[in-house]
Amino acid sequence: MKKYRKVISALVAGVMTASMLAGCGSSADNSQTATTEQAEGEQAAADTLTFKIGAIGPLTGGAAAYGNAVCNAAELAVSEINANGGINGYQVEYSKEDDELNAEKSVNAYNTLKDWGMQFLVGSTTSACSIAVSEYTKNDNMFQLTPSGSAVDCVKYDNVFRVCFSDPNQGIASAQYISDHNLATKVGIIYDSSDVYSNGIYQKFTEESAGKNYEIVSAEAFTQDNNTDFSVQLQKAKDAGADLVFLPIYYKDASLILTQANTMGYSPVFFGVDGMDGILTVDNFDTALAEGVMLLTPFAADATDDLTVNFVSQYQAKYGEVPNQFAADAYDAVYIIKQAIEAKNLTPDMSVSDLCESMKTAMTEIEATGLTSSKMTWEASGEPNKEPKAVVIQNGAYVSAQ
């Protein structure tokens, strides 16, 4: 996901220093079973043993909104877990590091966390940083679960898994969603052929659409050198009778498409992917134009299930803002790690590498429930399988699509 430069309060910069969660490392209960096979030499007294989870994200700079969401939500999940008795009876310590959206700094952040004693990494938040860090987690054989690194290469090593859909897999998920919810009979596509992200989603979408209950009637491209006039692409979709236009593109171009569609009096359902997230934040944009636009996103803060309601209220109480999809992904990531640890009955005294080996198998066996899906499973490749979710824009806000 490469959506940078959300406007972010400069205040954030001062506040964010790596800090440990208060209250950690305290009284784990003494009834631990001593089934340790490979106790490490430096092992401390059994009653102070803790699992150590680290998180990395851009806490300052243009993408700080993403990094803070990830690190805050992970922190929230860890404190909940500790309050409920920890994982397998062990408390969890948590630490976060800033990478400023810079791959090199992300690696430095990883090394800092490793020195601290991290056993599981939730991160990095963004794709390029996550890929850079995975070169090192691979060497150290440390378990890495990126909440939101969506580039294909993020999970190229077997020790790395992800919570979000990969970029191209959003194409598959979109096709399934449109088909499952009978959103359209004729679909038009407008995509950016000069962009890997957009092109990848477009291709997967087209492949997945074969045999679905709708038909693709137009597929028109544009390039970054030719992204001002979309009248032809829209007119072709209109002439072909498309009642849904799939836009696997970023909101920058999408905002122009919506404006031009409105000018020509064409109003199909517009369906976007995560790149569409941000359309409502465009300065001076008439949000009425985005009314009814749907987008594939793993999380809607207004959903009414208990898990979401609880998460949103806790998050709001603690950090004073409504959590976004990054927060939801990270919150799930911590609970997924917990579930995998419990599935294999792991203990904190195992070596990082042994933990990782067990986690790799555990990940392919567990079926997790979380904010972003009620049923998630993983391939050994690191890709998640889960039911796609979407939101629709109503009155200038995201509402869960039904």
Partner: protein, 294 residues
């Protein structure tokens, strides 16, 4: 019927290219330099209109006037600081490279001030245009205004150059700077005036560009600027009516090739046609007659 729809789309895009190309060709015709920063003057103009209009809660007329004034000052300053000292340089490339530098400079300053996030521009043309053939054909107000403004600019420029003393001085300076200076023409002042007019045109073009395609970012002017440059070359660079014709042609060719050939290859086709035109007629469509030069 659908052909007519696409033709109107082409006309609408072409009219934007045309008005940008007018500024390009005007500066080239007189100063004999390609002001590659022209597209970025347009972007600056758009940001001024956006900011002033926003501050005055929607009064776009004052925004446009502010943009024209400030862009003119920007043009004069740029000419004085960046181009004039290099006018005597041994290679004409020096000014060209400086213009590219100015272009990057302006883009990055805008990036610093306004950030990379796009802003949605409120159209300065409130008129919606009219529909024909029972609503099947729709001509946007901004398209009509753009074409009218282009024609007015074209006529006024022609009159200015042919009928006024300053215009004659420009013509003289464009043909031979040395001889013009000997005739008592202040060449530096004449070229500065050219830049002032060119930059004012950029501000007007910016208002129309962003009204037609209301997404504003620091790179808004870059690609339309290059396309307009192509339009100016197609029409015959230095020729004012040529810029108009070149712009309209380019827009129509682009839209029609998107429609009937390939939406991905349209740029390749547009530039391919440019190559063919230049092979057949190296001076562009109207570039041959020397008197046509401004």
């Amino acid at each position: 019927m659908s052909f007519l729809t696409y033709l109107i789309s082409g006309l609408s895009l072409g009219s934007i290219y045309a008005i940008i190309a007018l500024g390009y060709t005007m500066v080239y015709g007189i100063a004999k330099m390609l002001n590659f920063a022209h597209g970025d003057f347009i972007m600056v103009g758009c940001y001024i209109i956006f900011s002033v209009t926003g501050a005055l809660s929607g009064n776009s007329a004052i925004g446009i006037i502010a943009a024209i004034v400030l862009c003119t000052l920007l043009g004069i300053t740029t000419e004085f600081v960046a181009y004039r000292p290099l006018r005597g340089a041994a290679s004409p490339l020096a000014v060209l490279i400086t213009a590219i530098g100015v272009s990057y400079f302006l883009e990055n300053v805008a990036l610093l001030i306004f950030g990379a996030d796009i802003k949605s521009f409120s159209s300065v043309i409130k008129w919606e245009g009219f529909t024909l053939a029972d609503g099947q054909l729709r001509i946007q107000g901004v398209t009509i205004v753009t074409i009218l403004v282009s024609v007015v600019v074209l006529v006024v420029l022609q009159l200015f150059i042919k009928k006024t003393k300053q215009g004659q001085a420009m013509l003289a300076a464009s043909e031979d700077k040395g001889a013009a200076a000997l005739m008592g023409i202040n060449v530096n002042r004449t070229i500065m005036l050219t830049f002032a007019i060119g930059s004012a045109l950029a501000a007007i073009a910016g208002a129309l560009l962003c009204s037609a395609y209301p997404s504003l970012s620091p790179y808004t002017g870059a690609m339309p600027g290059i396309k307009a440059f192509v339009a100016a070359v197609l029409g015959g660079i230095g020729s004012i009516p040529g810029a108009m014709i070149g712009g309209l042609m380019l827009g129509i060719i682009e839209i029609l090739s998107k429609t009937y050939i390939s939406s991905q290859l349209s740029d390749a086709i547009v530039f391919g046609i440019l190559v063919i035109v230049l092979l057949v007629k190296p001076t562009g469509i109207l570039g041959k007659v020397i008197q046509e030069k401004v």
